[in-house]
């Protein structure tokens, strides 16, 4: 009896420890291949060269064009998702009836369940032709449509996390604002949103992290041309798209081209790891404690 209890506890412990092994595995895989990469290409070239052409005869290994593409699509996505998501959160909390909220929230969540490859199809075949109607210079592949669609995908993430943060603000604060004659709008943006600001910031950071790592939307709709530009109308390439592009091709294992995807991968990992940890830190440090 005692023995089998111990064995079971050991097995459960093991399955929890696997999560640590996954992290170690990720870091080990990314590091070992990247170190091999950086022994051939200096890290200075990697960070300062302005072109990324590892698959061409004239090889350049500057990661910046991929980083620029990633940041550009991410910026557009957040520019769409933050105003919409935050307004939805405020509206549902301060204005809408409870019944309306109960119906609308699961419907918004549907946006988050749609596979990203489907969003990519949407960006390429619906949003780009639509935008081309009034932006004449818009290329068939561009950062703008991909970013906008990514923003739509992130709306439920920002709206529901912000809403949780706002509804965690105690009623008494809202009632005090009303008591002083504030309108709902003044209460919302003068009292509730500032009081919930740490939670809202966390939702935005997680949204950024999600957008940085998003792959299929940008792979389908943003193009495959690494370009150091902030112009949203032309084809670009993100870090994630590059990894997909190489994976689809026939790059031999162990070659320098093969290792580039791990160098790109570790860059991506550093970005999302930093963002996630900043969000944990904010959550821990600035979470308002109301009693």
């Amino acid at each position: 009896m005692r023995v089998s209890e111990k064995i079971i506890e050991g097995l459960l412990w093991l399955s929890a420890v696997i999560t640590i092994l996954i992290t170690i595995g990720i870091i080990w895989v990314l590091l070992s291949e990247s170190i091999a990469f950086f022994s051939e290409v200096s890290i200075v070239r990697f960070l300062t060269e302005k072109e990324w052409t590892p698959l061409f005869a004239d090889k350049k290994f500057g990661i910046m064009p991929l980083v620029a593409g990633t940041l550009l699509t991410t910026f557009i996505a957040i520019a769409v998702a933050l105003p919409l998501g935050l307004t939805i959160a405020v509206y549902l909390n301060e204005y809408a009836h409870a019944g309306f909220k109960q119906v609308i929230k699961p419907m918004l969540e549907v946006l988050a369940t749609i596979p990203t490859v489907v969003y990519g199809f949407f960006a390429l075949t619906v949003v780009t032709p639509f935008l081309q109607g009034f932006i004449p210079g818009l290329a068939g592949f561009n950062a703008l449509s991909a970013g906008i669609v990514m923003g739509i995908m992130i709306i439920p993430m920002i709206s529901s996390l912000s809403e949780d943060a706002i509804s965690a603000v105690p009623r008494s604060l809202r009632e005090a604002a009303y008591g002083m004659g504030s309108t709902r709008l003044q209460t919302a943006f003068g009292v509730m949103v500032p009081a919930a600001s740490s939670g809202i910031v966390v939702s935005v950071i997680l949204g950024i992290s999600r957008a940085v790592g998003e792959t299929m939307i940008v792979a389908i709709a943003a193009g495959q041309q690494p370009r150091l530009t902030l112009n949203p109308l032309v084809p670009i390439e993100t870090i994630t798209t590059y990894i997909v592009q190489v994976s689809l091709g026939d790059v031999p294992h162990g070659s320098l081209e093969y290792r580039t995807i791990f160098a790109a991968g570790i860059t991506l990992f550093i970005f999302t790891f930093a963002l996630n940890n900043i969000s944990f830190w904010i959550k821990k440090k600035y979470q308002e404690k109301y009693d």
Binding site: E5, L108, T113, V117, G120, T183, I220
Partner: protein, 285 residues
């Protein structure tokens, strides 16, 4: 206009804006689903569902793609279920509150934020190369299992946490051991919640394309996989492949495949929501 009238007007204006923002996402979703339905429904017939892929758009079907998706779904569930639930039980019922547990928790939260394509790189090195599984179903399912593990662990813990202390105390008082309590009381009481989490995480796995492309799943597979060691394709990869082609006819195929993929995703989510609602109604502590 007095100040207070101005403020009231602004308040009303924001209310209208709020309704607008809330519905714009839903309207876009509706436009999109409508567009897909118009483009894709005409393409879906028995031949489309039972044909192998082909260079000619009108002959191409999604048999290998949905067969691969079902294989991946089942294998991923088999691998991820015991690991995720086991880890959840350990963290909720067995672990003590100390630095080690804290570290485990932070680590799991971090894993949940790692982009799916990075899991693809992990799978490529570990399962495809080191374990020599190649671009097989098993390698794909293992990769996706790691991807959804954090979600399963978190939802399992939530479900277990909802079981009140008194249930465990009652069981212990009757002389049950720790595991007997977990197995006979805690798990049956929280099973609905655990199942909901697993189904939701599987619906996420079904829609993933990026990590599977990285581990080398193919776009063109002329046979349906027969064993877990066979090469495979899945619906999202097939959709990606068709969407990347210039010919209009392949876009129609992609729309048809999207309808099938969305049907699977919505079905899984529907089951999860149904289970959750039933669970909430059934058990009142």
């Amino acid at each position: 206009m007095t100040n207070s009238e101005k403020n009231r007007l602004k308040d009303k204006a924001f209310q209208v804006f709020g309704v607008f923002c809330t519905f714009i996402g839903l309207v876009i979703l509706a436009v999109f689903l409508f567009d897909i339905a118009i483009e894709g429904f005409s393409r879906i017939d028995w031949d489309f569902l039972t044909s192998l892929p082909s260079r000619r758009a009108s002959r191409a079907g999604i048999l290998t793609a949905w067969a691969g998706t079902l294989w991946i779904l089942v294998l991923t569930a088999i691998i991820a279920f015991p690991l995720g639930v086991g880890a959840g039980i350990y963290l909720e019922e067995y672990s003590r509150k100390n630095r080690w547990t804290n570290f485990l928790e932070i680590n799991i939260a971090n894993l949940a934020g790692v982009p799916s394509i990075i899991y693809g790189l992990l799978g490529l090195e570990v399962f495809v190369r080191q374990m020599r599984l190649g671009g097989s179903l098993l390698a794909g399912a293992l990769t996706l299992s790691l991807l959804i593990l954090p979600i399963i662990i978190v939802t399992t813990r939530e479900a277990i946490k909802a079981v009140p202390r008194s249930v465990r105390d009652g069981s212990f008082a009757l002389g049950a051991s720790k595991w007997q309590t977990v197995w006979n009381q805690v798990l049956p009481a929280s099973f609905g919640g655990i199942l909901t989490g697993i189904i939701l995480s599987l619906s996420r796995a079904v829609g993933e394309a990026a990590p599977l492309i990285v581990i080398g799943a193919l776009a063109y597979v002329p046979f349906t996989p027969a064993t877990p060691l066979d090469e495979f394709t899945v619906l999202p990869i097939q959709i990606f492949n068709w969407t990347s082609r210039p010919q209009e006819a392949f876009l129609t195929n992609a729309a048809g495949a999207i309808i099938v993929l969305l049907a699977i995703t919505f079905l899984l989510n529907g089951i999860a929501v149904y289970l959750r609602n039933r669970q909430q109604k059934k058990i009142k502590w």
